[in-house]
Symmetry: C2
Subunit: 409 residues, 2 copies
C-alpha cells in the first residue's frame, strides 16, 4: 500500500478515532507483526501533541506457547507490576489505540478450558482498572492486515496480493483515499447517525422484535431510560472520539433478563482467537438456555458460561443489510468489520453510558437499572436480507424499524 495512504490512515486513527489531544499519553496495543504501521501511528500521535506514546506488543505465536507450556496457576497470576501499570493508567488516562491484525484463527489449538480459567482469573484482577477508565478514556479500534489474516480473507490470492486487497477493503470502510477529506467524511457520517438516533429515541420503545426466514424469532425488552447511540462518543470530560473505525452501527443496551426466542447467527464469530460457525442460541427469561453450533460448539459453551452475565445480552445493534461494508461482499472474519456489515447482538456486559444522565448514577445503580455486567462482551451477527425488526411502544404502537434487512424509518 502507498506510504502516503498509510500515513493518512494512521493520522485518521489518531485524530478522528482516539482524537488525541495535546499533552495526552497514548497507549497502543498491537502485534509485533505490524511494527512498521505502529511506527506511523506513533509518529502521528506525537504530531497531534501526545506527551508520551507507548506500545503493549503482542504476538499470537508466543501466546500459543505460553498456553502450551505454562500451568494455569502461573498464567493466572497477574504480577504486581502489571497491576501497578494499570493503576497508573487509571491516574493518567491515556488514549488507547487498539490495532487489530491477528489471524482470526491464530490461537487455534489452544486448550479452551485452560484459556477460560486464565482469562477469568486475570480479568478478576484487572476488571476494576478497566471499569475505572470507563467513560473517561478516549479509545479507538482499527485494523491492519497481517499476512495470515489477509490469506484467510482472500485464500485464493498470493500473500502479497491478499495483503494489498485487504488494505484496499479496510481503507474503503474508513473513508481513507488519495483525495478524500477524512475529517469531513467522518463528520457527515456521524451527523447522519445522530439524526437516526434522535428518531429511534423519540419512540421510547418498550421492546423490539426480530424475525427472519432463517429461524430468528426473538423479542427483547429495552431499559426505560436507555438510549440508542451510534458513531462518535463523548468522554465524561467532554472529549469526542470514534471508538470504532469503521462503524456503521446504531446500538443500545437492552434490559438484562428480558429476552425470549431464538437467534440464528449469520456470520462466523471469532472468539479468543478461534472460530465458531453456524450457530444459534435460544433465550428464555433473558438468558441463553440452549445453543448449538456446527463448528466450535464447545467454544460457544465456554463463552456463554464464562460468568453469570455472559448468558445475558449487553447490546443490540442495527446495521442495514446494504451497509457499505456488507456491500464490499467480503467476509472479514473480524468482528470489527463483520459486526458493521450486519445487525448484531452481544453477549455479556452492556454500556453504562447508554442510560440517560448516566453520570449521575453509581455503576451499581446503572446495573440495577438493567445494564448487564460481565467480564466478556462478544458481538455476533444476526442480520440477513429478509430481517424484519419492529419496535413496540409502551402504548402498544408498532413501528417498523427494519424491513427486509434495511432501515424502514
Amino acid at each position: 500500500m502507498k506510504k502516503s495512504l498509510l500515513k493518512k490512515y494512521a493520522d485518521a486513527i489518531v485524530r478522528v478515532g482516539a482524537n488525541v489531544q495535546k499533552g495526552q499519553h497514548v497507549k497502543i496495543n498491537a502485534s509485533v507483526e505490524i511494527a512498521d504501521f505502529v511506527k506511523l501511528v506513533t509518529e502521528a500521535a506525537y504530531k497531534a501533541g501526545a506527551k508520551k506514546v507507548y506500545v503493549d506488543w503482542s504476538f499470537d505465536e508466543l501466546t500459543k506457547l505460553h498456553y502450551r507450556y505454562q500451568p494455569v496457576s502461573v498464567m493466572s497470576k497477574v504480577p504486581k507490576w502489571q497491576e501497578e501499570k494499570l493503576a497508573e493508567e487509571v491516574e493518567v488516562i491515556p488514549c488507547r489505540i487498539v490495532l487489530l491484525s491477528d489471524d482470526p484463527d491464530g490461537l487455534k489449538g489452544v486448550n479452551l478450558e485452560k484459556m477460560q480459567k486464565v482469562q477469568q482469573a486475570v480479568t478478576a484482577v484487572t476488571k476494576k482498572y478497566r471499569d475505572a477508565l470507563d467513560c473517561k478514556q478516549q479509545w479507538t479500534i482499527a485494523a491492519v492486515p497481517s499476512k495470515a489474516w489477509a490469506k484467510k480473507v482472500f485464500p485464493s490470492l498470493r500473500t502479497s496480493v491478499a495483503v494489498e486487497s485487504l488494505w484496499d477493503a479496510i481503507l474503503k470502510t474508513v473513508y481513507v483515499s488519495e483525495d478524500a477529506d477524512v475529517f469531513a467524511e467522518w463528520n457527515n457520517h456521524n451527523k447522519s447517525f445522530a439524526e437516526k438516533c434522535a428518531i429511534l429515541n423519540s419512540y421510547k420503545f418498550d421492546r423490539v422484535e426480530y424475525k427472519s426466514k432463517n429461524g430468528t424469532d426473538f423479542t427483547v425488552w429495552l431499559i426505560p431510560d436507555g438510549k440508542w447511540e451510534g458513531g462518535g462518543e463523548y468522554t465524561l470530560s467532554g472529549q469526542y472520539f470514534n471508538p470504532n473505525m469503521p462503524t456503521e452501527e446504531i446500538f443500545t443496551s437492552p434490559m438484562k433478563g428480558r429476552a425470549e426466542g431464538v437467534v440464528v447467527a449469520t456470520k462466523p464469530l471469532c472468539y479468543r482467537g478461534q472460530l465458531i460457525e453456524n450457530f444459534k442460541i435460544n433465550f428464555k427469561d433473558g438468558k441463553a438456555v440452549s445453543w448449538s453450533a456446527e463448528k466450535g460448539e464447545d467454544l460457544l459453551t465456554k463463552m456463554l458460561t464464562f460468568d453469570e452475565g455472559a448468558s445475558m445480552l449487553g447490546e443490540l445493534a442495527l446495521i442495514p443489510h446494504d451497509s457499505p461494508i456488507n456491500n464490499l461482499g467480503i467476509l472479514f472474519y473480524e468482528t470489527l468489520f463483520d459486526e458493521n456489515a450486519s445487525c448484531h447482538i452481544a453477549m455479556g456486559s452492556g454500556f453504562t453510558n447508554l442510560i440517560e444522565n448516566y453520570e449521575k448514577y453509581t455503576i451499581d445503580e446503572l446495573h440495577e437499572k438493567g445494564i448487564n455486567d460481565s467480564m466478556i462482551h462478544v458481538d455476533f451477527m444476526i442480520g440477513s436480507d429478509d430481517m424484519n425488526i419492529k419496535g413496540y411502544t409502551k402504548g402498544g404502537e408498532c413501528i417498523e424499524i427494519f424491513r427486509d434487512g434495511n432501515w424502514a424509518i
Copy 2:
C-alpha cells in the same frame, strides 16, 4: 537459513548460553523485527523447563521517535510500575537472554546530549536493581541478523543474501552447524580457556604493557587479588552459564586510576546506536584525559564523561589476532563480534566477580579494592597484527603474553 539450524542455535542460546534450569523464569530482550526467532528461543526455553518466558520488546524506529518528540523530563521519569518490575526480577532472578539484531547505526540522528541526560537519569534509578542481580543471574548475549544490520555488514549484497551471509557468519562463530555437537564444542572451548587463565593467573602480574606500530603505547596496573577469566562463568549459587555467544576473550578488570599512555582503536565502535570511528584516547593517572575521533568525536566525549567512572577502565581483554572470528574477515559493526575478534579494553564499570573470593566482600569493598564503578561499560577494540603485550610481575620479571598479535604463552 534452514529452520533446523535456527532451532539448533535457539537451543544453544537457551542450554549453553543462559543454561536455563527447570522452574526458572526467562526474560528475553529483543527487537520486534526478529519476532520469528524469538518464538524459537521461547519454545526452546520452555522445553528446557522454564516456568515462564516473557519478552521485553524494543524497536529502534520508535526509540528514535520518542527521542525526537518527548522532552527529557518525560523520558527521564521511570514509571513506578517499571521499578516494581525490576524489583520483582530481583526477587525471582530470571535468566536473561539478550538477542542483538539492531542496525549498528540505527539510532543515528538522535540528539546525543538528550540521550545522555535520559540514560543518566534512568540508570540512576535502575542501577540498584541491576547491581542486586549481579553475580546471581544467568545471562547470555547472542545475535540475530536484522535486514539493516546485514546490509551494513555486506553492503554490496542483495538484502536477502546479506541476511543469509550474516546468519552463516554468526552460526560459525558459535559452533552451530548441521552435524556439530554444540555442547561438546563449547565444553572443549571452555576447557582450553580455563587452562590459559590458570597460566596467566599463576604470574600474578603487577602491570601489563601494550605496544603496536599504530601508536598504542600503554601500561595498565592490575589488582593484586584480581583474576583473569574467560568462557563460561558461575553464578553465586553455582550455576554455570556462558554470558557471550560467541566468546574468544580472556579478560580481567584492572586497577582503577592506574593507567598511562595512548591507546588507538582498531575498529569502529557502536555506542548508543551510533558509530565512532578511528579514535584514540590518552590516559594519565588511570583516566582518559584527551581523545580524538575522525567520526563521532562528540559521541566519544559524551561516552567518556557520562559519569566519573566512565573515564576509567573496567576491563582488559586478550584475543589473538588469528581468532576464529577475526579470521572470518568480516567487520560486524557489533561489539559482541568485533570485541571477540581483537584485543579490547572497556571504559566504565569493571567486574566485581573477578576479585578472588568476591562473595566474601561487600560491593563497596570490591570497589575499594580497585574495581571501577560506572553506569556504563563500553568495549572498544585495540588489537592489531603487530600488537605486543608484556606482563610484569611484582618481582620485576617480564613475561611475553602476546607477540605480533597472537598468544606468546
